[in-house]
């Protein structure tokens, strides 16, 4: 099976129902994408599949055939992703930081789709991503800052 991750093609010989998460982490050695629940409940494992945020812990590699997987490691290749990462650092969003891979990917996907999200849009896009440290308010502020820096919100 062929997997395209961050623009690189990988040939893997794995069961087709194996989740993208464990393929990335344990087979390809890409550990930026995190395990949090295994049931698409917490968002720590969020990656983009053809630009759409998905929970990689519950998406089999068969669903990624012919599609592009983008992980947190490649978010900075994208102008919107860079703006998100810069805003995260500038506002000191992370505490333990473990969920932030997923938060950054979800926020990047949101902002690419919607350059000027409302509070309700942010809630809708981000409420699948749990942060146990409680960084939600800074995440919201950072998304707005990134939107502004990226020419979206005023």
């Amino acid at each position: 099976m062929k997997l395209s991750v961050n623009g690189e093609s990988h040939e893997v010989n794995l069961p087709e129902d194996m989740p993208i998460l464990w393929t990335l982490r344990d087979v390809l050695g890409m550990t930026g994408t995190k395990f949090g629940c295994g049931k698409a409940l917490c968002g720590a494992c969020t990656v983009m599949l053809d630009g759409q945020p998905i929970r990689s812990c519950s998406t089999p590699i068969s669903a990624a055939q012919g599609k592009q997987i983008t992980t947190v490691e490649a978010v900075s290749k994208d102008k919107v992703g860079q703006a998100i990462q810069q805003a995260w650092v500038e506002l000191g969003v992370p505490q333990c930081g473990y969920c932030q891979s997923g938060q950054v990917v979800s926020a990047t996907a949101l902002l690419r789709d919607n350059p000027n999200p409302s509070d309700a849009d942010i809630d809708n896009a981000m409420s699948g991503n749990i942060c146990r440290c409680g960084t939600y308010n800074r995440i919201r502020d950072a998304i707005k800052l990134a939107a502004t820096n990226n020419g979206g919100a005023q």
Partner: protein, 772 residues
């Protein structure tokens, strides 16, 4: 102290640290200021009682040769010996060193110490102690290193040391304007004696570059947002295999029999291993069970699903939290429990009072549920074991792994990774032992044990379950005359002594014994409560139920008396005074000296007054909205919160705004204090609104974040305002930061709900109680 240092050995040592920790970017091109033997700062007088950092196992170390390395390129490497779990310690303590060292933060790298308390001093990262205990030692470290650089420069120029000074990574010669960089001086400075502690010239606070300022960037921030940061689960060791374990669902249970034939057929599964159970007390022992080892985590999980296991559940199989709650209520309803503090005559005062109040408050078990579940990787080679893990307790990890492997602790190395959250769960090294035992079962091959979220929720070291029973009396003038508190909860001590049924001083010192109220008749009792699961510590620990009960009860009384809650609360606290905790029978006082850290009601009043002012207490609100107030003293810090809630007609709760005021003494890293308070607010919402672990037939009923819910962004407060109250100066004793924000949140929410709806919540979580 060791003054004859060899550069070769230093280089090896530091290189080893960086390689062993697998944290990227630490390759030093040169060496250092050096590495020597630790000199610990224990108080000289062995007879005197020890407090604070002096009383912690292995005390503290302030030798710059242990903590600082300066390479020839000028980069400064600072060792963080405390574990990073989101509280910001890898930024805050190295920042203190960098400040006294006059180092440029952009040139600072931080490496994580392995578990070795003899070398680094205490590493047990809990109790809101890291900055509180290590602010001064880390100032000493930075100042000593700076003075060594100054001395080296003075010698180089042949001038008096009083003619030179350090400024932003350079030593300058005042008369001539000559300048030398830290990198140029590192080698010469390393050869000098470390100045005696008594001779250190510390900065004046007005010279601080980073301490007390808002601007220091998080040391791991960029690695985190780019996915490069290495947590326990991200460790990769050559030849590593992956394991998951089916553990006994009931505390004290064990495997009766198992059939692994189907599990072994799963592609990728390598081996199935039976792990012996540990009878209670749990201590830090692994629970035993059946481990499936595979080529990847997913295959191990698939294999585990195919195991057929028959369990012997043992004597806790009858644990049902519904029934247990009734038992606790019965225990709380009558006297006869252990009396812990008694002044005046509470029974008489209650009998003869004009008015009395009585209420029971319940908080269920809670799971810390850090986003990174417990995980550890172990390898055994040449009779030595290495473990990589996110642990709050590096030394306990080393000792416990050594015990289980029957090795000497010197042959066990604990590499501490970043922690994807801890909240107390990762203070218990049971999961490191599992990895070590499985590595041994694999002839020393590296094994990574990953706990699934279900494992984390089913087999935790939970926050206790509790009933706090309160009674009070008031006289005809509405003044409180009696206070009776019966606290009923299985104790953390049961985790170390299975026969324990009473709480221990550290739990009793969390808001039960040390209530500061100006009331003549006070009695505090602790009826028995037996534990039926592993009880551990959860951020803020026993302060959570005590603040919930006491701060709710006071609001209930104020309402009944038709008094303003704030005014009534301040009246109960009474005038500003410094209470010696010993007078309250509080033997613990968070481990701090009762003289240096009295319970200061003036500071408690100040946080209440400040939060009321900032949140505009008493402001008009539309129908369906209400304000709630609560305060609490914990970890030698003072906090007060005001929550604004809105409850819709069908009972939906939203939180438009929260204000929290904190007085934690001097603020070393205000930016991280704010983030800790914000996080505490949200964790407080979580446990107040949805947090509950319940048991049926001895086993936890919840499985994952669907049934054990935690607050999400759409449910979190729309605004959080943190108000940091300044200390007089940096000589004031420091308070804790990581935990004190949490206790007042739940009662403030419930008091706000009462203000909005007239509905009083005495049992957490709130969940569906607002639906009419």
């Amino acid at each position: 102290m060791n003054t004859s240092l060899k550069n070769e050995s230093l280089q090896t040592e530091i290189t080893n640290i960086s390689r062993r920790n697998l944290l990227k970017g630490f390759a030093l091109t040169g060496f250092v200021l050096a590495v020597g033997m630790p000199f610990s700062g224990f108080a000289e007088d062995e007879e005197a009682p020890k407090y604070g950092r002096d009383a912690m196992p292995h005390g503290w170390v302030d030798n710059p040769l242990i903590f600082v390395a300066i390479a020839e390129d000028g980069s400064v490497t600072i060792v963080s010996h405390r574990s990073e779990m989101g509280q910001g310690v890898r930024t805050s303590l190295p920042m203190v060193v960098a400040d006294e060292l006059e180092a440029d933060w952009e040139k600072v790298k931080v490496i994580q110490a392995p578990g070795d308390e003899e070398r680094y001093g205490n590493q047990d990262t809990d109790g809101s102690r890291s900055v509180r205990h290590f602010f001064m030692p880390m100032r000493n470290v930075g100042a000593a290193a700076r003075m060594m650089l100054e001395a080296a420069a003075a010698a180089h120029w042949g001038v008096g040391v009083d003619e030179v000074f350090a400024e932003n990574h350079q030593i300058k010669h005042r008369p001539s304007g000559k300048v030398l960089g830290y990198g140029e001086l590192a080698k010469a400075a390393a050869a000098l004696d470390v100045p005696e502690r008594e001779t250190l010239r510390l900065k004046n606070p007005d010279q601080f570059r980073y301490i007390g300022k808002q601007s220091t960037k998080l040391i791991d921030g960029e690695d985190i947002v780019t996915g490069k940061a290495i947590y326990g689960i991200d460790v990769q060791v050559d030849g590593m295999v992956h394991a998951v374990i089916a553990r006994p669902p009931v505390y004290g249970g064990k495997v009766k029999s198992f059939d692994d034939s189907e599990a072994l057929k799963v592609p990728g599964v390598i081996k199935v291993v039976l792990l012996k159970g540990s009878p209670p007390p749990a201590v830090f022992n692994p629970l035993g069970g059946v481990a499936v080892i595979a080529e990847n985590t997913w295959a191990a999980m698939q294999g585990r699903e195919k195991l057929k296991i028959e369990w012997d559940h043992g004597e806790n199989a009858s644990y049902n939290t519904d029934e247990y709650r009734q038992k606790m209520l019965e225990a709380a309803s009558s006297s006869g429990g252990k009396v812990l503090r008694s002044s005046g005559d509470v029974a008489k005062a209650l009998e003869t009072a004009d008015k009395t109040y009585k209420a029971d408050y319940y908080i269920p078990h809670l799971s810390q549920a850090p986003m990174e579940p417990p995980v550890a990787t172990a390898r055994i080679q040449n009779g030595k074991c290495e473990v990589w893990a996110p642990t709050q307790a590096p030394q306990a990890s080393k000792d416990t792994v050594a015990k289980w492997l029957e090795m000497s602790p010197e042959d066990v190395t604990i590499h501490v990774t970043l922690l994807g959250g801890g909240f107390g769960r990762k203070s218990k090294p049971d999961y490191l032992v599992e990895a070590a035992l499985l590595s041994r079962a694999m002839q020393g091959r590296a094994v990574q044990v990953t706990w699934s979220r279900e494992d984390d929720i089913h087999n935790g070291y939970l926050h206790t379950v509790s009933i706090e029973h309160l009674e009070a009396a008031v006289n005809a003038d509405g003044k409180a005359t009696a206070w009776l508190h019966r606290t009923v909860a299985p104790s953390i001590s049961s985790t170390f002594d299975a026969s324990s049924v009473h709480q221990m001083p550290i739990e009793l010192g969390m808001g039960v014994m040390n209530i500061p109220f100006a009331i003549d008749n006070v009695q505090i009792e602790n009826p028995e409560a037996k534990a039926h699961t592993r009880i551990g510590w959860f951020r803020s620990v026993a302060n959570i139920p005590r603040a919930f009960a006491i701060q709710s009860f006071i609001a209930e009384m104020a309402h009944d008396l038709d008094r303003d809650h704030k005014a009534f609360l301040l009246e109960l606290i009474g005038p500003a005074r410094k209470i010696n905790p010993v007078e309250l029978n509080d033997e613990w006082n968070y481990g701090e000296s009762p003289e240096k850290y009295p319970l200061d009601t003036g500071r408690l009043r100040r946080v209440v007054e400040a939060v009321c002012e900032k949140a505009n207490w008493g402001r008009d609100l539309p129908a369906g909205r209400g304000l709630g107030l609560a305060t609490h003293y914990s970890f030698v810090s003072y906090t007060a919160a005001i929550v604004e809630v809105e409850v819709s007609e069908d009972g939906e709760l939203t939180i438009p705004r929260m204000d929290i005021a904190v007085d934690c003494g001097p603020q070393v890293n205000p930016e991280r204090i704010r983030s800790q308070m914000e996080g505490a607010c949200i964790m407080g919402v979580s446990l107040a609104t949805v947090g509950e672990i319940s048991f049926k037939d001895g086993a936890v009923e919840q499985d994952n974040f669907d049934s054990y819910q935690v607050t999400r962004m759409n449910e979190s407060p729309r605004e959080i305002h943190v108000h940091l109250l300044p200390a007089d100066d940096f000589n004031t004793p420091l308070g804790g930061v990581g935990e004190p924000g949490l206790p007042p949140i739940a009662p403030a929410i419930c008091n706000a709900i009462f203000a909005a709806t007239g509905k009083r919540i005495r049992n957490l979580p709130i969940r569906y109680q607002l639906e009419s």
